[in-house]
């Protein structure tokens, strides 16, 4: 009597899709994320919490910008670069945007080649991603230096509302920190891929767990998130 039911559950259970599947997954009194591993679920939840942090920064920026009676400095002018005597608005920021998008592209392909167990290509693409990220941070350092020399401080600037400086340094600084941490972890994971840790089942240094190629995707999720945040910063801080 119970025999057929048992064999049914032993086979890979077919999960229904759509709303029914959603209700079934969440009400099943088991793990809710049927196909996502714990690693993927956890990185997504971490990214969700990071979303709230960046949202709060951008929200406070919106609040001070809307409520100040002093004119807000024009970002188009503030971040313009003069090349060969011609002033181009936001040039450096545009280049930084393209660099970060390119790094996301190489990262997405690295994840793909990781699952194909193509170690050389995966490593090369991850190193390319890290190089893009490092050049992004370098350009940001240049931008900070330029603005600090022009007199922008967290408590004031020569062009208008004092809050401009505090918003700029907080938001881009926090994002730059994320990029920097991402570059460091890209290098660590790239080394593991190159050494074949995920083939030989070598244990990691921190958790002493055996890694899988999924870690490349986890890394990728973090990296794409950093790119995603930049999309919002670019639109709301630099273009608005």
């Amino acid at each position: 009597m119970t025999e057929p039911a048992l064999t049914d559950t032993l086979e890979a259970p077919a999960h229904p899709g759509g709303w029914q599947g959603f209700a079934a997954d969440w009400s099943s009194d088991q793990r809710a994320f049927k196909t996502a591993t714990w690693g993927k679920a956890m990185i997504w939840i971490f990214l969700l919490s990071d979303t709230f942090i960046f949202s709060c920064f951008l929200l406070s920026y919106m609040t001070v910008r809307m409520s100040t009676t002093v004119p807000w400095p024009n970002p188009s002018k503030v971040f313009s670069l003069t090349i060969a005597g011609k002033e181009t608005p936001l040039l450096l920021i545009a280049i930084m945007t393209f660099i970060l998008i390119s790094s996301s592209g190489t990262m997405a392909m690295a994840v793909n080649f990781g699952y194909r167990r193509d170690r050389a290509t995966t490593t090369a693409l991850m190193l390319a991603t890290a190089a893009f990220g490092a050049s992004f941070v370098g350009m940001q350092a240049f931008e900070w230096t330029k603005l600090i020399l022009e007199g922008v401080r967290p408590w004031g600037n020569p062009w208008g509302a004092a809050q401009f400086g505090s918003c700029f340094f907080l938001i881009t600084g926090f994002h730059g920190t994320h990029v920097t941490i991402g570059v460091i972890f890209l290098l660590i994971i790239a080394r593991k891929v190159w050494r074949g840790d995920f083939e030989s089942g070598r244990r990691g240094f921190f958790t002493s767990r055996k890694g899988r190629y999924e870690i490349v995707e986890t890394m990728g999720l973090y990296w794409h998130f950093v790119d995603l945040v930049w999309v919002f910063i670019f639109a709301l801080f630099y273009l608005w």
Binding site: F22, I45, V70, N112, P158, A162, D227, F234
Partner: protein
């Protein structure tokens, strides 16, 4: 845009085929590399579009809606394809994508709140326009001297102004001559004498200031500048010290610290001392 929708249509067709394939594969996300390259290309196109909004100086509602449109499409492509959210089950999608919706409510609340704060600030502090500036000045009990058209500036008002900026003016003899305030007496240091000049210039009604305080040591002469609406310290520094020297605005700020609390907070009509560049 029509092109974009056709591409996304193709993607949807591709998604369903991949989802079917995914059931068979145990190992992670398997998609053709071409998909990533296409998305990469679209992200470039969209970023260029949003940059061009600024480059061509589009303003008003068109600017904001274009910026937001490009931002949302870019974010959607990154999350759906690069982060593989399109292939996850609804249970994960809703768990991650629904909570940020609360942020939108937060945005609405804070927009309402900052609008109210702005209105309150304009009502009580003014916008920095000359008429609003007069309202923010300390009310003068003497009854005369605050209006633009008043003929004399009472000596005690100048004293008050000097005291407000905590300046040491020992035994000053202040004589009022029409709208010109002349001051004589000895200030303890040349620096003090330079500070009192802009301060007395800011006592309303005084259009020009004759400063004949015998300073103990001769300091290099300074120019004075009356702020006009729209002035910034950077602009003044560029005008006074020459193009490319806007960064020296902080010298002007330092010289007028008694008046200015913040380099971004200037009121039209204030008289600033422009120090000479040494060397």
């Amino acid at each position: 845009m029509a092109h974009l929708s056709s591409v996304s249509g193709k993607n949807v067709a591709h998604l369903s085929s991949v989802r079917r394939k995914n059931m068979a594969h145990e190992e992670g996300q398997q998609h053709p590399i071409k998909l990533y390259l296409v998305i990469w290309g679209w992200l470039f196109v969209l970023s260029t579009c949003s940059y061009l909004v600024d480059f061509f100086g589009i303003h008003g509602y068109l600017r904001w809606s274009l910026i937001l449109l490009f931002m949302i499409v870019k974010a959607g492509l990154i999350v759906a394809i690069f982060m593989h959210m399109a292939w996850e089950r609804l249970a994960l999608m809703y768990a991650i994508l629904v909570p940020p919706g609360a942020v939108l409510l937060f945005v609405a609340i804070m927009a309402f709140e900052s609008d109210y704060t702005h209105v309150t600030r304009v009502l009580f502090f003014g916008t920095g326009e000359p008429s609003a500036q007069a309202a923010t000045h300390e009310p003068q009990t003497s009854g005369s001297g605050t209006g633009i058209g008043t003929a004399t500036t009472p000596p005690d008002q100048l004293m008050k102004e000097a005291k407000k900026h905590s300046l040491d003016v020992s035994k000053p003899e202040v004589a009022s001559e029409g709208r010109n305030a002349a001051r004589s007496g000895s200030a303890s240091a040349p620096k003090e004498s330079e500070k009192t000049a802009p301060a007395s210039g800011n006592a309303s009604g005084a259009a020009t200031v004759h400063n004949d305080i015998a300073a103990a040591a001769k300091a290099p002469e300074s120019k004075f500048y009356t702020l006009k609406p729209g002035d910034t310290l950077w602009k003044i520094a560029e005008a006074e010290y020459g193009p490319g020297h806007g960064g020296k605005y902080h010298l002007i700020f330092e010289a007028n610290k008694a008046l200015l609390s913040n380099p971004g907070k200037l009121s039209p009509g204030q008289v600033l001392r422009i120090p000479r560049l040494s060397g």
